[in-house]
Structure formats: structure tokens, C-alpha cells
């Protein structure tokens, strides 16, 4: 059944992660198709700093365009967008991204819950979300909203996670469509069809 959904309509993939997720992303990105028919948005807990090292780091590993989000940025397929530190990232109905500097959620800004919930509302069943390694439960409520809206829920196999708590909590509370180990991640993402 999960297989059916994977071949459904995907317009957007949102990836959330916290402690231990950067390594997974660095391993996953090189295997991605260069002509992905949807956009990928990364929402990671990280320190705010004036530099652009994360996008630079990713750009070295893929030909896919990597960009840190600016306010009202339009989403384009085949691009990887990174949520800037210290802002929540929200999705608008006109296919643009907006930023929000309101209170932290789950002690986090960006909060993965906030982005997942917002994406679920706009993209419904044409959304896929992937939750990676992390030491708190940010993202779990968001995955529930994604599931409820008919989206596809993917979770990193906790056995392969540096900090298994976040994916474990997701598996406990959400009806997850597929559990992915790090190796198969890019292949599954490449197979999400538009």
C-alpha cells in the first residue's frame, strides 16, 4: 500500500531533522536525481550564524540547485531549499515560502512541526515528509497533520540514527508509510513521482 502512495503525486518533499541529521543529509544528497520533478525543503535545527556554510556544503555534493530561503521565495521543482536559522518556515498557497519570527515551538526555531503542519495544509496529498535523526519530538505532531491530510510519511530507521528519539517518537505516534535506512533514502526520494 505504501508502494502505491509512493508512486502517487508528489509536488513537495519536506525533510526535518535535528541532532545527527546533517550527516544523513550529506550522505543522501549526492544520490539525488538532478532533474527531480518536485522541490525539496530542508528544515533543520541548527545554530544561527552569519555564514551560508550548510548550503555551500550541500552544493559541493550535488548539481541540484541549493538555496537558503529568502522571504517570499517561489518554490521551483528540482531545487533544494534550506530553512534559515532562527525563523519558522511556512508555505503559502501561491507556491511561495514565507518566514516568521514568532515564539519558538518545541524550543526550536525553525520548528519542524510548524513547517510540516503548514505544508500539509497547502499541499495535502501531494506532499511527502521525511523525519530524520533528532533528540526531541519536534516534527511528530507535524507528521500527524501530514498523514491526516493524505500526505506520505517517511521516517529514518531509528536503528541507523545518531539520535534515535525523534524517529522513534514518530513510529510510536504516527502511522508511518515507510521506514528508510540512510542508504536507500536517495533512491526512494528519486522514485517519488510527480
Amino acid at each position: 500500500m505504501a508502494q502505491d502512495k509512493i508512486t502517487g503525486h508528489c509536488k513537495l518533499l519536506v525533510v526535518g531533522g535535528s541532532a545527527g541529521s546533517l550527516d544523513v543529509i550529506l550522505k543522501m544528497v549526492p544520490g539525488l536525481r538532478h532533474d527531480l520533478p518536485f522541490a525539496i525543503v530542508l528544515v533543520l535545527h541548527r545554530k544561527s550564524g552569519g555564514d551560508y556554510t550548510l548550503s555551500d556544503l550541500l552544493a559541493l555534493r550535488t548539481k541540484v540547485r541549493v538555496k537558503e530561503v529568502e522571504d517570499k521565495e517561489p518554490l521551483e521543482k528540482g531545487c533544494i531549499y534550506i530553512a534559515p536559522p532562527d525563523y519558522h518556515l511556512l508555505f503559502e498557497k501561491d507556491n511561495t515560502l514565507s518566514l516568521d519570527y514568532s515564539e519558538k515551538v518545541n524550543y526550536s526555531r525553525p520548528s519542524i512541526d510548524v513547517s510540516f503542519e503548514s505544508a500539509a495544509e497547502v499541499y495535502g496529498s501531494s506532499l511527502a515528509c521525511l523525519l530524520l535523526s533528532g533528540a526531541n519530538a519536534d516534527g511528530v505532531k507535524g507528521l500527524m497533520a501530514v498523514k491526516q491530510a493524505g500526505g506520505l510519511v517517511l521516517v529514518q530507521d531509528p536503528k541507523t540514527a545518531d539520535s534515535p528519539y525523534m524517529p522513534q517518537q514518530a513510529l510510536l505516534h504516527v502511522d508511518v508509510d515507510q521506514v528508510l535506512d540512510v542508504k536507500s533514502m536517495s533512491e526512494v526520494i528519486n522514485g517519488l513521482i510527480c
Partner: protein
């Protein structure tokens, strides 16, 4: 939960009854704020929420304060303040008098930050900062110049990262759990309500600061506000935005030139 049509009904009420126009705010963020307040104040139904808004003028104050985001800090984005200190203030200092508009100043932390920079550049005495916000409640707090002592350690670290060399604690006096900033700062500030959506230009400024306000507006409203700023600036005046905001997509961008790496533009035409 609240659906989009109900949000539209609320926004309509607000405009009709109180003159607040939120219809061109970014929808995703606005809806999130409204749903958050609905749950925070434990309403049972949309009808009850709407009735409270329509009939209770005190509640409308709370609504505006909670719907608009008032999270801020002193010397937020240290690199921005460093650039302001090193590159912009020396140029502004060549004017006989400096008028600054801080639009959407919220509780005032960034206004006092700018005042401290002006003071350290020996420019405060010939400067006037017009600090405005849509929200009268936050302006009252800004006017008081009192900020929680518990935040001062963080603010002091920001100040140092922004190139501050003085003893930050010399700028305020501790009083119970608040730090009150010296009056020499607040003397150079004028606080007033101003709604960027509906109010017009009220002076010509050398520097307009509007940080992390435009992210809550949709593109059309952003455009309108940029035009308002443009009309409020003399030639060679500066416009400073939040670190993820940009003038790039606006129709007035050809009249401006970005200076340096920070989100500061100079009006060249």
C-alpha cells in the same frame, strides 16, 4: 479548528468595526497566529470567538498584540549592527541633523540598540528616532525603556559581537527585575502608532529601519510599503531590512543600491 472562510470573516469584521486591515498579510503566518490565540484563550467555537472580537473593545487590543509578532531582542543580528556602526553612521554623521524612522519597532529593543550606536558615534544629540508600530500596547513598553534583566546577559553578548567596546551595563540601571535604559536615549525618540497598511508618509528620513515586519505581508502589500518608504526618503538615504528580507523583487529596486553584505540599501535615484 478554524477554516479559511472563517479567517476571512474575522478579517472583514476587524476592518469594518475597527479599521484594522489584515487582508494583505501573509496567510500562512496570520492563520497560525489566529488559531494559536483561539486555543490559548480556550474558545469553544468560532462563533464565540467572533462575538468576543465584535463586542469587547478590550479584547481587540489583546488580539492585535497577539496576532502581530512582537518577538525581538537588542542588537539582533550582530553583523547588521556592526555594519550600521562602521559603514552607515559615519556617512549619516555628515548631516547637520539625522532623522531616523524605525517602522514596526515593537517593544523597542532595536530602537535602543540604534540609540546606543548613535551615542557611541557622538551623533545622538543631533538625531531623532521616530519609532512606530501598529500596536499601542507595545509602544507603551518601548517608551518605558525597561527590559527584563534576565535578557541582559544575552543582549550584552550581542552588543559585544556587534563591535561594542563599552560596559553595556553602564547604559541601564537595575530596578527589581528590569533594567531601565538612561533617559538620554529615550529623549531622542518619538513613539507613535502608525499602520504601514493604511497610514501615509509623515516626514523625510535619512535612515528607515524596518526589520522582520515585511515577512508578515504578502507581495502586493510589501510593494505598497516599499513605495511608502521610498516616498519617505531623501536621495542617498538608507533603507535597512531584516536579514532574510529583500528589495530585489520590488519595482523600486532600480532606485536603490545594496551596500555591503547586510540588508542595507542606499537610495541612488
Amino acid at each position: 479548528m478554524i477554516v479559511d472562510e472563517e479567517i476571512d470573516i474575522l478579517l472583514n469584521d476587524l476592518l469594518e468595526l475597527y479599521g484594522y486591515d489584515f487582508s494583505d498579510y501573509s496567510k500562512a503566518s496570520l492563520k497560525r497566529r489566529i488559531v494559536r490565540l483561539f486555543m490559548l484563550d480556550k474558545f469553544h467555537s468560532f462563533a464565540q470567538f467572533r462575538e468576543k472580537l465584535r463586542s469587547d473593545t478590550n479584547y481587540i487590543k489583546r488580539f492585535i498584540e497577539e496576532i502581530t509578532v512582537n518577538v525581538t531582542e537588542m542588537f539582533r543580528d550582530a553583523s547588521f549592527y556592526k555594519e550600521l556602526r562602521q559603514e552607515i553612521l559615519p556617512v549619516l554623521g555628515t548631516n547637520p541633523f539625522i532623522r531616523i524612522w524605525h517602522a514596526g519597532c515593537s517593544t523597542g529593543e532595536e530602537v535602543y540598540s540604534v540609540a546606543i550606536l548613535l551615542h557611541e558615534a557622538n551623533l545622538l544629540q543631533k538625531s531623532l528616532i521616530y519609532a512606530t508600530d501598529i500596536n499601542p500596547g507595545v509602544l507603551e513598553r518601548a517608551r518605558s525603556g525597561i527590559f527584563p534583566l534576565s535578557h541582559m546577559k544575552h543582549y550584552s553578548a550581542n552588543y559585544i559581537s556587534a563591535g561594542g567596546l563599552q560596559d553595556f551595563s553602564s547604559y541601564y540601571t537595575a530596578n527589581y527585575d528590569g533594567g531601565k535604559f538612561k533617559e538620554e536615549f529615550s529623549k531622542r525618540m518619538i513613539f507613535s502608532t502608525h499602520n504601514l497598511v493604511s497610514d501615509s508618509s509623515f516626514n523625510e528620513f535619512h535612515l528607515v529601519i524596518c526589520r522582520n515586519v515585511l515577512i508578515y505581508f504578502d507581495k502586493e502589500l510589501q510593494e505598497k510599503v516599499f513605495e511608502l518608504f521610498d516616498a519617505s526618503m531623501g536621495k542617498l538615504a538608507y533603507l535597512a531590512l531584516g536579514s532574510k528580507e529583500t528589495l530585489k523583487f520590488s519595482s523600486i529596486h532600480h532606485k536603490f543600491k545594496q551596500v555591503g553584505k547586510e540588508k542595507i540599501w542606499r537610495k541612488i535615484k
